[in-house]
């Protein structure tokens, strides 16, 4: 990045709903000035022009097949900074729900006898394939957080992603705690930055932004149990967006105990 040249940025998508890229388009509605300070060289969903010279790559989506790894590696080779855009790229997201079932069963359920026609493997976040510099969490990403992250990158700073729980933002909004309304919520263990949007609209936090660095997991599970959830229901809630992390953690624990 030189003083006279705008930094070139590119957007890429893998297995995802492309809702995060759509949120990028939406955030430009309020911040069209951003287009004056960066040059977008690739954004297949929105433009035909295609440049292969870029400094920052925003990658949406999980890696769900071997043949996509090569494309990710090429992006890593070109970009000075790789940003995981949204939960699918950051954590694996809902794509990783697939791993709760045997892979062959999943393939047959959808494609029957033709299952082998379609290549797939267990969904993974992109940092399972290439090193990632930053992640912008969320399903979808938060518009303001995206803008703040781009501003930080332009200033050569680390994007400001909070490492405190959603409860902090929920309290600041003066929301009534969902637990007092006989609902359940993963806000106490989930990374903030979304403005506690789901509890604000009356729904449980589902941990789409992943967990904070040191969540008090056992207390969280106890509280959910006290609110009438059985183990199956708690597991279900815990795996909606983070099935990949939950599974990795279990596998590590198994390794550590020699099981």
């Amino acid at each position: 990045m030189t003083q006279n040249h705008k930094p070139k940025i590119a957007f890429f998508d893998f297995s995802s709903c492309e809702g995060c890229q759509l949120t990028v388009v939406d955030s430009l509605q309020d911040h069209p000035e951003l287009l004056g300070v960066v040059e977008i060289v690739q954004f297949r969903e929105a433009m035909t022009e295609k440049g292969e010279d870029y400094l920052v790559a925003f990658v949406e989506g999980s890696c769900t097949r071997q043949s996509d790894e090569e494309r990710l590696k090429q992006i890593r080779q070109q970009a000075a900074i790789v940003v995981a855009l949204g939960t699918c790229a950051h954590l694996g997201g809902v794509n990783a729900l697939k791993s709760l079932h045997p892979l062959q069963d999943v393939r047959q359920y959808v494609y029957g006898e033709k299952a082998d026609w379609y290549e797939t493997y267990d969904a993974r976040p992109i940092d399972a394939v290439i090193p990632v510099d930053f992640a912008i969490p969320g399903c979808p990403i938060d518009r303001n957080e995206f803008i703040n992250c781009v501003k930080a990158l332009l200033l050569g700073k680390k994007p400001p992603i909070p490492d405190y729980p959603v409860c902090v933002e929920c309290k600041l909004k003066e929301n009534v705690c969902l637990f007092t309304l006989n609902k359940v919520c993963l806000g106490p263990v989930t990374r903030a930055g979304c403005g506690a949007i789901c509890p604000t609209y009356g729904q449980s936090c589902e941990a789409c932004r992943g967990f904070i660095t040191n969540p008090n997991d056992s207390s969280m599970r106890n509280v959910l149990a006290e609110h009438g959830m059985n183990v199956e229901e708690v597991t279900s809630m815990y795996t909606m967006f983070t099935a990949y992390q939950v599974r990795e953690k279990l596998m590590q624990a198994e390794k550590a105990t020699g099981g």
Binding site: F14, E18, Q29, L35, M47, K50, V110, G112, C198
Partner: protein
């Protein structure tokens, strides 16, 4: 004369698809639209999940039609469990649904389609050459997104809508301000109709079977019956008679056919089947665009989207009037009247008719799911159009041919991420 066109990952569409066309000795040898999106397996993943989660999971099928998937999902669960939502719920759902139709259509006609007519590769150069057009599109798009946000928290992915009702309710002042903005946006809507009426739409005619939902008393978006332009009506529970899915090797999306070799869904199908129920201002827009049912020029699917933009703005104003008259009050969720069962939800999402079919077990978890997405239903029809189009354009230089074909693909407004997780029906 021999030509080969191989467009890898068509741009300005949602998801990944390739055009492959080969002409040898002036004969069409090959003509395909390959869906190369990674399969996502949503139906398989829904099994074992609580029905209350299903709309949150399936909205993640697609960022553009997240509200459409969520609404269809809620209707499937509600039908399975015998839940009749309140009038207020029905109106609020319609309002956010209109927001999504507007958001998606505005994105498509302005940012994905218009650049082709203005000879540019994206909307970005238009920001300096036609700033008033881009600013208008952004204004309209912002209003559409806000319309969803007031009701459900956000457009992608909606929060407050759930099985049996809502968990958050818009305030009177929010609805009043939304109504005022909708009234003010009419000038932008008129300018939109004027712009698209002035574009040189490509000439192309091919009659096909048009399939959409229909309702006796309104232009159908949520619930209703399945209607074919060839004169058949079926209850939505009989959707499999219409969709008849089959697999082809070059596509991870499933193909469908009903009474002909293929059929078309989407704005043009709705326009052709339900024209009489459009708002008078939308009908006037159709006249300005030179469109009278039945329209058989596929490129005019984007024209039908412009007509629906007018309709949804007007209808949203009427819905808000009704909500303000009733007064929006917090309501408890309507509880299930049975513990298990199966149900089919059907909605006209921006790209056409969408079905979700769920089987719910005694424990409240899904035991089976089937989702049939509009783009899938259109791919066989797109290929049939391409087979008619290519002989008409094969004399053109290859770049012009490629543009005609890409514009044809874009006319369908394909949503390819959506299209790749369609289940062969396996229950339990």
């Amino acid at each position: 004369m021999s030509k080969r066109i191989d467009v890898h990952h068509v741009t300005r569409v949602e998801g990944h698809g390739n055009i492959v066309v080969e002409v040898a000795d002036s004969q069409l040898k090959e003509c395909r639209f390959d869906v190369v999106e990674t399969p996502r397996f949503f139906e398989a993943m829904l099994r074992g999940r609580p029905y209350t989660e299903a709309s949150h999971i399936t909205s993640r099928i697609c960022g553009i039609c997240a509200t459409g998937h969520a609404t269809t999902s809620l209707r499937a669960s509600e039908k399975a469990l015998g839940i009749q939502p309140s009038q207020q719920t029905v109106l609020l759902r319609k309002l956010s649904f209109h927001g999504e139709i507007l958001d998606s259509h505005i994105l498509h006609v302005y940012m994905l389609v218009a650049p082709d007519f203005l000879g540019v590769g994206s909307v970005i150069p238009l920001a300096s050459s036609h700033p008033e057009v881009v600013l208008r599109a952004l204004r309209m798009k912002k209003l559409s997104g806000d319309m969803c946000a007031i009701v459900t928290g956000r457009h992608t992915h909606p929060i407050a809508m759930t099985v049996g009702g809502f968990t958050h309710f818009p305030k009177r002042a929010e609805l009043e301000s939304l109504r005022q903005r909708l009234e003010e946006v009419r000038a932008d809507v008129d300018a939109t109709v004027e712009l698209f009426a002035s574009l040189p739409w490509p000439q192309f005619e091919r009659d096909t079977e048009y399939i959409s939902l229909t309702k006796p008393d309104e232009y159908a978006f949520i619930d209703g019956e399945i209607k074919s332009s060839d004169g058949v009506k079926l209850p939505i529970e009989s959707y499999q008679k219409v969709t008849n899915e089959y697999l082809v090797p070059h596509s991870s999306a499933k193909f469908t056919r009903f009474q002909r070799e293929s059929y078309m869904v989407g704005a043009l199908a709705r326009f052709n089947n339900n024209f009489d129920q459009l708002h008078p201002r939308a009908k006037a827009a159709a006249v300005a665009l030179g469109m009278k049912p039945k329209v058989t020029n596929t490129y005019l699917n984007s024209g039908a989207q412009v007509v629906e933009i007018v309709h949804c703005v007007e209808d949203a104003i009427l819905i808000i009037n009704q909500l303000l008259e009733m007064g929006v009050n917090p309501e408890e969720l309507v509880p299930p009247t049975r513990q298990s069962g199966d149900g089919v939800g059907a909605c006209e999402v921006p790209r056409g008719i969408l079905f979700h079919h769920y089987w719910i077990g005694e424990d409240g978890n899904l035991t089976g799911a089937n989702c049939i997405i509009p783009t899938n239903q259109n791919i066989a029809n797109l290929e049939a159009d391409m087979r008619v189009l290519v002989p008409q354009i094969m004399h053109k230089p290859i770049d012009a041919m490629r543009l005609d074909l890409e514009m044809m693909v874009r006319a369908y407004d394909p949503c390819i991420s959506c299209s790749v997780h369609v289940a062969k029906l396996v229950t339990r």
